[in-house]
């Protein structure tokens, strides 16, 4: 027999198993495409000459790394499914007299064909649609024209080598399995691994306990900084809880249903409940995987979309004035700085307005019931602590800004809150009592709000040294920096053409740096430009990763249902013989698939609902405080996700029904 015989056999095999191989190839193609795209974006030279592009490229490099790890896991997983189904067939070849090396040859051809189709078509897609997605990315991140899409051949070589290596590794794995097993064992391959597992209610209780703990943590977070640490612990708790709950909890519930004789001994409950018990024992882990993947997709997509949509508002909120400069008092001449600012602005045809400067001192403190104290690290990162950002203003500065002539004694202060209006008659600052003589909310400078803080407090003191003293004591825990100087802040707005403003901001940044090395500089237009790249890149990346995760999940579900269909065919044949109507068969199948399918989706939605508060807190760190925006983004993401999910469900149910009813 010539070599071409084995090739023909391989091709026939692929065709015969197309309902498994087509999805396998399509998923592989999707991963290759995404990998190529990310590599082209991260290694291409087309966008390197833009400010902020480096962040973007690093992001895509990381994206490509994620994809490559995920592809390896996924391709092995899917391959395992394929092999499990085909063990019988392979054993039959052995029994019919094909030598092992010939079976190996057929498998080699199969892997090569499936792998080559996936890799080449994925790369062709990358070639065809790469430019489209590149332009889309440029549009989202508002990178100016001049960037070019460059097709780097080394990217394609790299992709080809990487994915072919993965496919060959799966081939070696398969060969090893065939070599290590006897035909008789292979014949039974499909039935192995279906042993009953005992489940105990204790495991279910542990699972629910873990879930409850995770949820409790997620719900009881007030402080955004604490959310970062807590997030990971909560995620781990919820993941572990999901596995236990799916594994044990579902069976406990089903067994309870079974105990309820009236419920259980009804036609469709009877078949579904017993089928589900059987199924959950085998598939609980798979379903838990799907649930966790879905949750990841939903959280990734909804947060990146929320960040992308909310970025302008976010940046405007954190930059209440167009420019903000902060430096230590005395490091620069106030007059000289102002003159320089106007000079630079004039050069770029930009008009400066609302130029305001003030000497203040800021600190972080806890405040309750008229008592203000310094905070330590524990309070800063504690999940339930509320802390305030306090701005201390010397009386002279206050009078200068407002044009008033207020007089304060040493133990008198003016005090206002930025959001909450709850001033008291007396206030105790670090063990010393002060009388609140009035409010100070008329300084006319919008300093913005430190979003991670609960609120801002403005306080006017008579004595500058007293301010320095208080701040020094309050900050002891944090820094060893000397606090012997006030800060000097400058705020102003700028008007002009966008391009001019951008150029002006760029020069302003440089000039001020040359004047004072340690100055802090913020400009709304520059922040926006950075934001477009950061959030645009994030949303692009999140979207692709989301789609890849979704693709993988869909495949897992599809393979699961298909292999179950073959298993269930016999069951339904028997049921039919014993007298189950065709109509009832369809009803029962639908009910069963719906439950298996929608359990993970339901679980994911519940997870997201409980995580929502924590997500809003985390996004606060990015200065995104618009809860309703986050809510709508999450809602829309879930809706789109559910639509795709339902579509997959319909397709799968159809394939399953075809198999069972053959």
């Amino acid at each position: 027999m010539g070599k071409s015989f084995y090739l023909k056999l391989a091709v026939t095999n692929l065709k015969k198993n197309r309902n498994a191989y087509i999805p396998y190839i399509l998923a592989g193609m999707g991963m290759v495409f995404t990998y190529v795209l990310f590599l082209l974006l991260s290694e291409g030279k087309g966008i390197t000459n833009v400010v902020g592009a480096e962040t973007l490229q690093i992001m895509f490099e990381m994206g490509a790394a994620v994809i490559s790890i995920f592809s390896v896991i996924f391709i092995f997983y899917a391959n395992g499914f394929l092999m499990k189904r085909r063990k019988k067939e392979i054993a039959l070849y052995g029994i019919l007299g094909l030598e092992r090396k010939h079976v190996g040859l057929v498998m080699l051809y199969e892997s090569l064909i499936a792998g080559l189709i996936s890799v080449i078509s994925g790369m062709v897609l990358g070639l065809l649609f790469g430019k489209l997605f590149f332009m889309l990315l440029m549009k989202i991140t508002r990178i100016a024209e001049g960037s070019k899409f460059i097709i780097d051949t080394s990217v394609f070589t790299k992709t080809f080598l990487f994915f072919m290596a993965v496919y060959l590794a799966t081939l070696l794995w398969n060969q090893l399995q065939v070599r290590l097993s006897k035909p008789i064992e292979l014949l039974k391959g499909e039935e192995i691994g279906q042993k009953e597992k005992r489940s105990t209610p204790i495991l279910a209780i542990i699972g629910l306990g873990l879930l409850a703990a995770g949820y409790y943590m997620a719900l009881n977070i007030v402080n955004p900084l604490a959310a970062i640490n807590r997030f990971f612990i909560a995620v781990l708790l919820v993941i572990a809880g999901t596995y236990y709950t799916f594994r044990a909890g579902s069976i406990v519930i089903l067994k309870l249903l079974k105990k309820n004789k009236r419920y259980y001994y009804q036609t469709n409950h009877f078949i579904t409940v017993s089928g589900m018990i059987h199924r959950m024992k085998q598939n609980a882990t798979g379903l838990a995987n799907i649930c966790i993947l879905s949750t990841m997709v939903l959280v990734t997509l909804s947060t990146t979309i929320a960040l992308f949509v909310g970025q302008e508002k976010m940046i405007e909120e954190s930059n209440p004035t167009d420019y903000y400069l902060n430096m230590e008092e005395g490091t620069v001449s106030q007059v000289e700085l102002k003159e320089t600012v106007y000079e630079v602005a004039q050069k770029h045809n930009v008009t400066i307005s609302n130029y305001k400067d003030i000497r203040i001192k800021g600190a972080i403190a806890s405040y309750s019931d008229g008592t203000m104290k310094g905070v330590d690290r524990e309070i800063m990162l504690g999940s339930n602590s509320k802390y305030y950002s306090v701005i201390f203003i010397p009386l002279t500065e206050y009078n200068k800004l407002t044009g008033k002539n207020v007089n304060l004694e040493e133990n008198e202060v003016l005090m206002s809150f930025a959001i909450h209006k709850s001033t008291k008659k007396n206030v105790k600052v670090l063990e010393e009592n002060y009388t609140v003589k009035g409010a100070c909310d008329d300084i006319g400078i919008n300093m913005g709000q430190d979003v991670t803080a609960y609120d801002s407090i403005y306080m006017v003191f008579k004595n500058e040294n007293r301010i320095l003293d208080i701040v020094m004591k309050m900050s002891e825990e944090f820094t060893t920096n000397s606090h012997d100087m006030l800060e000097y802040n400058v705020y102003f707005d700028a008007e002009g053409e966008y391009e001019d403003r951008l150029a002006c901001a760029g020069e302003m940044k440089e000039v001020t740096y040359n004047m004072v090395k340690g100055r802090y500089f913020a400009n709304i237009d520059l922040s926006k430009e950075d934001g477009y790249k950061l959030f645009g890149g994030l949303v692009f990346l999140g979207f692709f990763l989301g789609i890849i995760f979704l693709l993988a999940m869909v495949m897992i579900i599809y393979f699961k249902q298909i292999s179950e269909g073959f298993e269930d065919r016999k069951r339904f044949e028997i049921l039919n013989k014993v007298g189950l109507d065709k109509k009832d068969v369809k009803k029962t199948i639908n009910k069963q698939i719906i439950q298996v399918f929608f359990l993970p989706l339901l679980g994911a939605i519940i997870h997201v609902a409980f995580a929502f508060k924590m997500i809003t807190k985390l996004l606060l760190i990015f200065n995104l405080s618009d809860t309703s925006l986050i809510f709508y983004c999450t809602l829309i993401t879930i809706a789109i996700f559910a639509v795709i999910y339902i579509f997959v469900f319909k397709m799968t149910a159809k394939a399953y029904y075809r198999i069972v009813n053959r």
Binding site: K261, Y265, S274, V578, G579, L580, K583
Partner: protein, 255 residues
């Protein structure tokens, strides 16, 4: 009027494109009275399975008719055929056809659940039946935990629980060892004595020798039949063997 009447039954299978025709049954006539125990014997390819499928209303004849208690099977509409099968026929298969997802008890109750009976009624029926078939101690076990003989007795219980007019058994001892087979045949004798009509298709002379009448099928026709009458089982056995030998001269393989 006989319980089961089979008149001029004919079944022709056609290949998918209508080219080749294959005649499985050419002309089958026989009837079964209530309370009878009939065995049908025949070589592989003689049309036994086709006949049984038609009797079970799983397949439709090309010509002729099957009447069960006066009802023509092929005239029952598709939507009612499952219910009809459930209420009038009980099946015992060679490979048991028990569902692994159900306990022994649930397997037995399956036809009743499909008929939407009250749980109380199910409970009342299952215990006496299980005792009769000596599986009352196994009710909470699963099919993969019990022996072949016990599985087949479970299947018999499932067939009997609806009090069907006719039990159709397809090679019921085929997958059992000789001891379990003997035990099952005794059970068949018992249930037949209590008035249950049984129609069994088999290869096994031993199984057939338990029946009150044996029909021999060859080339899609009833070729011969033997009545047991007052003979003992051993005498019947010998008679069947000699008939099969005669048939074998015409090329019949006695299996």
């Amino acid at each position: 009027m006989p319980l089961l009447e089979v008149n001029n039954l004919k079944k022709i299978y056609t290949t998918r494109f209508g080219g080749q025709q294959c005649q499985a049954l050419s002309q089958v006539n026989f009837s079964v009275e209530e309370g009878e125990y009939v065995a049908i014997m025949g070589a592989s390819g003689s049309g036994k399975t086709t006949l049984l499928n038609i009797l079970a209303s799983l397949d439709k004849p090309t010509a002729g008719e099957v009447r069960l208690d006066g009802t023509v099977l092929s005239k029952i509409s598709d939507s009612k055929i499952s219910a009809f099968r459930r209420e009038n026929l009980g099946f015992v298969f060679q490979d048991f056809n028990l569902l692994d997802t159900f306990s022994v008890k649930d397997n037995i109750l399956l036809p009743l659940v499909l008929s939407r009976k009250q749980y109380k009624e199910m409970e009342e029926r299952v215990m006496p039946l299980a005792k009769r078939l000596q599986i009352d101690s196994l009710l909470d076990k699963f099919p993969y935990e019990i022996s072949g003989g016990q599985k087949q007795r479970t299947a018999v219980a499932r067939a009997l629980i609806t009090n069907p007019k006719l039990i159709l058994a397809d090679e019921p001892t085929g997958a059992l060892d000789s001891k379990a087979a003997q035990n099952l045949l005794q059970i068949f004798d018992q249930i037949n004595e209590s008035g249950q009509t049984i129609l069994m298709v088999t290869h096994s002379t031993q199984a057939a020798s338990h029946a009150k009448r044996v029909l021999f099928i060859k080339d899609g026709e009833v070729y011969n039949q033997l009545y047991r009458g007052n003979q003992t089982q051993e005498e019947m056995f010998r008679k069947i063997v000699s008939t099969l030998t005669v048939l074998a001269d015409g090329g019949v393989d006695i299996g």
